[in-house]
Symmetry: D2
Subunit: 134 residues, 4 copies
Amino acid sequence: MEFKQEWYEGAREAQQRAYAPYSQFKVGAYLITKDGKAYYGANIENAAYPSTICAERSALVAAMSDGYRPGDFKCITITVDADKPSSPCGTCRQVLKELCDDDMPVYLTHQTDQRMETTVNDLLPLGFSGKDLE
Amino acid sequence: MEFKQEWYEGAREAQQRAYAPYSQFKVGAYLITKDGKAYYGANIENAAYPSTICAERSALVAAMSDGYRPGDFKCITITVDADKPSSPCGTCRQVLKELCDDDMPVYLTHQTDQRMETTVNDLLPLGFSGKDLE
Amino acid sequence: MEFKQEWYEGAREAQQRAYAPYSQFKVGAYLITKDGKAYYGANIENAAYPSTICAERSALVAAMSDGYRPGDFKCITITVDADKPSSPCGTCRQVLKELCDDDMPVYLTHQTDQRMETTVNDLLPLGFSGKDLE
Amino acid sequence: MEFKQEWYEGAREAQQRAYAPYSQFKVGAYLITKDGKAYYGANIENAAYPSTICAERSALVAAMSDGYRPGDFKCITITVDADKPSSPCGTCRQVLKELCDDDMPVYLTHQTDQRMETTVNDLLPLGFSGKDLE
């Protein structure tokens, strides 16, 4: 899949909406559905740190609450203000695993035109899933 | 504040979007902003149970990722399929505390016209907040 | 129940073990079982803030992993370095609700001899529990 | 490192202590410190699914609350009742990343003498860490 510059811009826009008064580390995510809709996600922190929700998950639950279902997603782009890209935390990888195709592209970006591309499966090898509960 | 029937209907609509293959317990939330916009929230479960995100938080992070800020919210209505209302889990109360006014109404509904009304502060007395970190 | 000074000292000891490189906010918990055993709990933070585990929950899961069961707990004492006590976050309240008697005392302490006493039920009114899932 | 049968037995013992009334999926973990102490960990579920804490994290926070520090751990063994091993969820991988050496062995076992060996780093490639926050 060819990366589109507008996905990067969407993630940068999402990042502006981060609520990060505790870490000052703002993250933005831009999720594209297979039928062409886009969802913004920003990290929403909490004084009780464990209650924080990351940008990737914010975008995914917004889309799911709008009616999208697992497998409906085309790609996600993540961005941070740093001199290199950051990757999703373990919890976000687990949620990507549950809701997205294993080979769905995950684009990691930051302040420059540098970009890393990975996939859901590469981020969570041997991933725990519903099959393990059967 | 007078409760509006459309808030109940919004929560019921949100509940249809729940992704709850593990508990079969579908929850819907309908969040109203002070400037009149509405956000749907549904519980989005995960095979790894701790990675589940509840309906209340789904609605709140969707709104925040759209640019709303703490204090911008007017009320939230929650619904479940049960013979009595359920109340938010502790984590959702913590997120409500961070993002909503202490006296914001929280309406707990279920399958009938019965309804309980509470507030953010009543749900999290002596609530932990950013002031505790100073 | 009469508060014992050793519970305060246990919580202070636990607090020394906190791993809080991100917030610098160290919390200690000291959990007493009904048969007289004590468990230390400290907050264990994570660069990914949502993966942090608080002091109260650290103590509870340590005891449960040692074989204690819900209802086996007598009281918990929590302490912080501040000029007033802090109370448990919403997630910890939810875990206290699941594992402890509703009227179990929760003692909130800090650097002085001041102390607040509350209970599991008072911290999570209208608490969500397994009964809601039935 | 040569795997020791007693690590498997420790994990099986830990699994007996799981509190899993919601999923019925019991997990055990057995954590060994570099100085030779062992910690049991079991999954401790909650009616509010997101408040569940997994076996791996139970063991790690118990050890940390006892005074161990990041890097003090030698290996962890995990077990489940299934016809194949399960791997840690994303959140547990994130906590392993924070607290353990990147090359620390993680042994995945189940009901038979089959066993998989992996490492912290293999479970969380491109892992998010404190360096990302700097």
